[in-house]
Amino acid sequence: MRFQFAGVVAVALALTTGPAQAHHSFAMFDMTKEVTVTGTVRQFQWTNPHAYIQLIAKDASGRDVEWSMEMGAPMYLYARGWRPSSIKAGMRITVTLNPLRNGRPGGVVRDVSGPDGKPIGTNR
C-alpha cells in the first residue's frame, strides 16, 4: 500500500523561517499541537538523516493505522540515550508527537515511553 503524508507549507518558505530545522523544514508539522499515540512497533529505522518509528495504532473506528514518526539523526539519538535496540518490533510504546498539519498519521517525535511507562532516553 502506498500512502503519502503531505505537509502544507512550501519548503522554500520554511527554510527561511525556522531557527532549528534539521536537514529539512519542520513546517509540515503543527508544532503548536501535541498528540499522544499508543501502539505496536512495526519497524524502528535507525537511519540517516532521520530515524523513524513505524507504529501500528487503532484509529477512532478501531482500524489499524500505520504512523510514520520522524526522529532526529541516530548520532543525536545515541547522545540522548537511545540505541538501535531501544525499541523493537512488537513492542508496545507511547509516543508524543507534533502531528502532520493535514491530519495524516505521522509527525515528529517529542517523547517516547516504553512498555513500563518510563521515558526512553533523556531528550536533552
Binding site: R2, A6, A10, V11, A22, H50
Partner: protein, 266 residues
C-alpha cells in the same frame, strides 16, 4: 613542471593571504620524528564534537531547543541573503521552484559547516581534517603546497582546500565546489567558480568560523557570514552512518514524508 609552477604562481597571486613560498609537497623532505613532534606542539588543539550553534541541544525529534528571548540571530551558510546578480537570482528562483520535496545526498560543503550533524577537527602539521557523522571529510592541506594545477582539479561536493596558520587561526581557501544546492537542497546556488575563504579560531569555548565567498558567476560582491560552533558534550565518539533513508518527498507540490522503503516497493 611548468604547469605546477604556473599553478603555484596563480595560487600565490589568487590568495594573497596564503603562504608566500608554497613548495611542491613531492619535493619537500620528510621531517624527522623530532621535527614533526615539534611542529605538532606548535599547533592548536580543538578536540570535541562541534555543532553549529544553530543546532545546540538538538532533541530526539531533531530540533534544537529554543534560544533565550533576545538572543542575537545566528547567521547561516545557505546564502539566501547573498548579493546575487541576474544569474544568481535565476538560480535562486529555480532552487525555490524545485526545492520542495527534494531528497538530499548529505550536507556537502559548505553546509556541513552549519549542519545538524557534529564534526571533528583533527589538526596535524600536514593537514587538518574535518569529518562529520555522515562520513563527509574535508582535507585541508597545511604543508605549504599550492593548489593543484588547473587540469588536476575538478568540481567535487567538498571542493579542494589549502590552508595555512596565522598564529592560532586556521585560514582555509577552497575552490572547485560543485553547486552546493545540487547535493543538499538547502544549500546555496554558488557556481563552480566560487572561491571560499574560512578563518577558524577559538573564542573561549566557541569555534568561530568567518566565512567569505567570491563568485563571479552568481554574486555582485563577496558574501560573508560568521558561524559559531559549540561542543556537544553528549557525544563520546564519532559514529558515522551513511545517508540512506531520506524520506522527503512531494505530493501536489507540497512537502511530504514518503512511506517506508518496504512499502514503496524498493
Amino acid at each position: 613542471m611548468s604547469g605546477r609552477f604556473a599553478a603555484a604562481l596563480a595560487a600565490a597571486v589568487l590568495f594573497a593571504a596564503g603562504p608566500a613560498q608554497a613548495q611542491d609537497a613531492a619535493t619537500r623532505p620528510t621531517p624527522s620524528p623530532a621535527e614533526r613532534t615539534e611542529a605538532f606542539a606548535k599547533l592548536p588543539y580543538w578536540p570535541g564534537y562541534w555543532v553549529s550553534e544553530q543546532y545546540a541541544n538538538t532533541t530526539i525529534g531533531g530540533f534544537a531547543a529554543a534560544r533565550p528571548p533576545g538572543s542575537p540571530p545566528l547567521q547561516r551558510l545557505n546564502g539566501f541573503n547573498a548579493p546575487y546578480n541576474d544569474e544568481g537570482k535565476a538560480r535562486q528562483a529555480e532552487a525555490a521552484r524545485t526545492r520542495g520535496g527534494r531528497r538530499a545526498d548529505g550536507w556537502g560543503y559548505p553546509m556541513m559547516m552549519d549542519a545538524a550533524t557534529p564534526f571533528q577537527v583533527m589538526i596535524t602539521p600536514e593537514e587538518t581534517l574535518i569529518v562529520n557523522a555522515y562520513g563527509e571529510t574535508r582535507h585541508i592541506y597545511t604543508d605549504g603546497r599550492p593548489f593543484p594545477a588547473a587540469e588536476d582539479m575538478w568540481p567535487t561536493v567538498w571542493g579542494t582546500s589549502i590552508g595555512h596558520w596565522e598564529g592560532d587561526t586556521l585560514v582555509v581557501e577552497t575552490v572547485q565546489v560543485q553547486m552546493p544546492y545540487t547535493y543538499f537542497h538547502g544549500g546555496p546556488t554558488f557556481s563552480e567558480e566560487a572561491r571560499y575563504t574560512e578563518r577558524f579560531h577559538m573564542d573561549n569555548d566557541r569555534l568561530v568560523m568567518e566565512f567569505t565567498v567570491v563568485d563571479p558567476v552568481t554574486l555582485t560582491a563577496p558574501w560573508s557570514a560568521t558561524i559559531t560552533h559549540i561542543r556537544e558534550e553528549a557525544f563520546d565518539r564519532m559514529v558515522q552512518m551513511d545517508f540512506s533513508n531520506d524520506r522527503t518527498g512531494s505530493e501536489n507540490g507540497i512537502n511530504t514524508i514518503e512511506p517506508p522503503a518496504d512499502e514503496r516497493g524498493e
